[in-house]
């Protein structure tokens, strides 16, 4: 009884989104000090790239990560993360929304292949800075309409989920437009390994061939990765939602966007894959009265909505359009892969966009062999995972991409592979999944959910890449084999003849005749072998010079 009374006396309160996230930052990528630095950098760079692409600007991003002192958290350093871009900048009024308000986004639910989606990440970084260093994000922004740039500090008003601008001033800035954001956070810097900053920066460079990036990291010389493409990716417009991907509540809510229009107009304009033929089908076999389609949307009762929704669900519709996905393209990927290190050869594959789990998806794969074989030659291949052109660096084992890689029989393509594990060798396997609706396993977008359909699609792409790669590996193996054979002839012939002669007590004359005969015999093989070897070398040299293993089998499909 006491318990019931207690619970009755308890006050039910509501809390703001910012309050929720400030207490649960581990859910959005701040679960460890190493991750905190990487996530902060990643959110800032993602925003820069998205903004540049939206405004048709070739991005040039400068990244600085440095240690400035001891952090307030136990065993942490105070780290400065600064990202500057040449993007469109952010209007003064929007600065608090962008950097200090959760779920304030220009992209939420639009169904586009942008890196950011919900508007959580950069606000979470500001919150982390605020919680650990008691100072928010220091921002300099200039749009092309501003004469001078605005410099300010943005903080999150956690109680009300609002951004607050402090220390605002106007300054001169040597660029037409751009944005600079700087965070002082507690964390630890990890440069190498799967979760390392270098892995992130290299990965970002790989899938953004149009990006020029300058970076300065602790203990390393400042470096610049130049762009290899001047084509700005044109992010396809979002398509209208497909009714089969919706739930009843969403379906009704969607109708409110259209106000007072007829149901048939709403269905045709508001959804993809619904046309006159489908409406006729709904009336003919779906049990929907023709008069219902003539009614105004805002006059429909809940039961009518439900009936209509069920009828549409039971009607066969074309799969959603795949036009909304964006690919890097085999050509750009081929150029870009050479920026991540010296590679021997590689193969790239861009699959046609397809539908997985009722969502448009496009998968691209690049497999490259590193020239420096001493780098972890006996370890598993280096896997680079990308979702909407953002590197994924954590929770590798449960990711759809890793599932797909391990499901492929790489031995068939000349790579060593333990049972149900990643292949072994000095290779990089980069897999990019692009979709307006990627199903992540968590809010921090670290792992793609391994649905059977998606894993199969990635697997097929990997198989294609593997097949192209194997052509090269086989040629190489063949060349080695041929060389080995030549050596065999020289080494074994005298031993064989001597052995036979000893057992048979043959005379020297007989021995001589047998040796001559054997040389003649194997000489024929040797000549053929030599010819094959020369040809194999020629092919290999040609391919190494080109540095491109295989040309696309078909032009990139859209």
């Amino acid at each position: 009884m006491a318990k019931i009374a207690d619970s009755k006396n308890q006050k039910i309160t509501t809390s703001s989104t910012a309050e929720y996230f400030s207490k649960n930052l581990q859910q959005v990528g701040f679960s460890s000090q190493v991750k905190a630095v990487l996530t902060t950098l990643k959110e800032a760079v993602d925003n820069s790239l998205d903004a540049c692409e939206d405004h048709g600007i070739l991005p040039e991003v400068s990244v600085t990560v440095e240690k400035v002192g001891q952090g307030s958290l136990k065993n942490s350093d105070q780290i400065r993360v600064r990202v500057e871009d040449n993007g469109p900048g952010v209007e003064t009024d929007d600065l608090p929304k962008v950097f200090g308000e959760y779920l304030a986004s220009s992209k939420f639910g639009r169904g586009r292949c942008s890196r950011g989606q919900q508007g959580i990440g950069i606000s979470a970084a500001t919150t982390w800075a605020q919680l650990t260093s008691a100072i928010g994000a220091r921002v300099i922004s200039k749009t092309d309409k501003m004469r001078k740039a605005i410099a300010c500090l943005v903080e999150v008003d956690i109680k009300n989920n609002k951004g607050v601008i402090k220390d605002r001033e106007t300054i001169d800035w040597d660029r037409p437009s751009g944005l600079s954001v700087e965070f002082l956070i507690d964390g630890r810097i990890q440069l190498n390994g799967d979760a390392g900053l270098l892995n992130y920066l290299n990965g970002t460079a790989l899938v953004n061939p149009h990006l020029t990036m300058h970076y300065k990291l602790p203990d390393l010389e400042p470096n610049t990765i130049e762009r290899v493409s001047t084509i700005i990716p044109d992010i396809p417009k979002a398509t209208e939602p497909h009714p089969h991907t919706m739930k009843l509540g969403e379906f009704i809510a969607h109708s409110h966007l259209f106000g007072r229009v007829k149901v048939n107009v709403w269905l045709k304009k508001g959804f993809s894959r619904i046309h006159e033929g489908v409406l006729k089908e709904l009336v003919k076999s779906g049990g929907i009265k023709a008069s219902l389609l003539e009614k105004s949307v805002d006059s429909l009762s809940e039961a009518e909505f439900k009936g209509l929704f069920m009828a549409i669900q039971n009607t066969q519709l074309m799969a959603p359009s795949t036009k909304s996905v964006l690919s890097i393209g085999e050509e750009s990927l081929a150029k870009s892969i050479q920026r991540i290190g010296a590679v021997d050869f590689f193969s790239v594959v861009t699959r046609r966009p397809t539908i997985c789990d009722f969502k448009p998806v496009q998968v691209e794969v690049a497999v490259a062999r590193l020239e420096d074989r001493s780098v972890d030659g006996d370890g598993p291949v280096q896997v680079l995972r990308f979702a909407n052109r953002v590197p994924l660096q954590f929770d590798k084992s449960s990711c759809a991409i890793v599932h797909a890689i391990t499901s492929v029989n790489w031995r068939a393509y000349g790579l060593a592979q333990p049972r149900e594990a990643l292949p072994i060798g000095p290779y990089i396997v980069a897999v990019s999944v692009v979709s307006p609706f990627i199903k992540f396993k968590n809010a921090s977008k670290e792992t793609i959910d391994a649905s059977d359909e998606l894993v199969e699609e990635i697997r097929r792409t990997l198989i294609q890449a593997g097949q192209r790669l194997s052509k090269h590996i086989r040629r190489e193996v063949k060349a080695n084999e041929l060389e080995e054979r030549m050596k065999h002839i020289e080494q074994f012939c005298p031993i064989l003849v001597s052995g036979l002669c000893r057992i048979t007590n043959a005379t020297e004359a007989r021995k001589k005749r047998a040796e001559d005969g054997l040389v003649k015999l194997l000489g024929r093989d040797a000549r053929v072998t030599e010819k094959e070897l020369k040809e194999a070398h020629k092919v290999l040299q040609a391919q190494t010079a080109e540095k491109q293993l295989a040309l696309p089998l078909h032009p990139t499909a859209q």
Binding site: R485, I495, L496, V497, C501, I503, T504, E515, G517
Partner: protein
Amino acid sequence: MATNQDIPKLSKELCNRLLTDLERARRPVLYATKCSLDNARYNHKVGYLTPGPKKVATELNVSSVKKMSRAIFMLEVLLRNLDSGAVNTKRELYYISKGEIKHNPELKPLDFADQDESDSVIDFICEMIECYREDLNCYANDRGGQTYSQNLIVTETLPDATKAVVDLGKLGTTPFQPKNRPQNLKLSSKKKLDFCLVVESEGTANTLVANGFTKRHNAILLGAQGVPSNAVRGWCKRIQDQLHVPLFFFGDLDAYTIQNIYRTLKAGSAASLIRNSDYSAPDVHFLGVLPEDIKKYDLNDYPVRENDAQEVRALKKAQDALKNDPFFQDKRNKGLSQILKWLLQYKRRCEQQAYFTVDPRDPTMPEKIIVDKIKRGDYV
């Protein structure tokens, strides 16, 4: 089939032929019997697996020159052993080869990376000349086959033609260990023997003897120690042919025992097609454990564990055996194939030691059941 005496002559002929081919710049070809299940034949009148017509041809070319050179090199070592009367195991031959190569750097390209490589060369020579490796003085360790009997007498002809006589009844609790080449042994008995029992587990065979089995029964009892070695196989063949006593095999009821242990003892194996005639005892019966024994004696059985790789593999192999193994396909062996089918259907197994559950306080209960089964003809 070549005998010990023929081998030097046959080897010389073979080498001569190779040399003549080379003198004429003609490609020499070596033929060896294909020792695999697809070349195995079974006829119940013969009683064991025999080789079919398939031969493996090795033609001299850049790929095979290494294999041929190694074979001739090893043949030379083996012929030297035959000449001097020295014997070796495969492991020893591996090291002898290493030693030869060490002292003669010109032979370096022939070097064996591990024993598997030298073993396969020895097997290749045996298949080529169609002889047992024992004929090349290459012996395996005498594993398994510890034999007990009160009435068995073994006479061994030694290399110097003298004879050694062993009366097993005078050995006490010490067993007689058959040699890897039991062809030199002659068997006789003091009085007519009733039967010979081959027990899969050496431990259980010892227990039966310790509990007085051979005192109470005029029989031969031997432990197979798992998959029977050449010594055990040749020994059983010897017992069958020279003593004409009924032979019974007593082992676990599982796919591995039926296919790998009992089948090898009764009809030989596909890998040793060329020597099954001397290394199999076609008259041996499967006494148990039979599937019906489980119910009859209320034996403790248990399901095949999914994570027991050997058992799972054996069941898979049993499926293949029913389809492809001529031994199990022969209608005379229907009883055995029925057991395999039962094992595949129920996926259960029962161990030979389960007979001890029948009366846990009577140590001779397994013996009583075994003898009772033999008397009643309760075997396959």
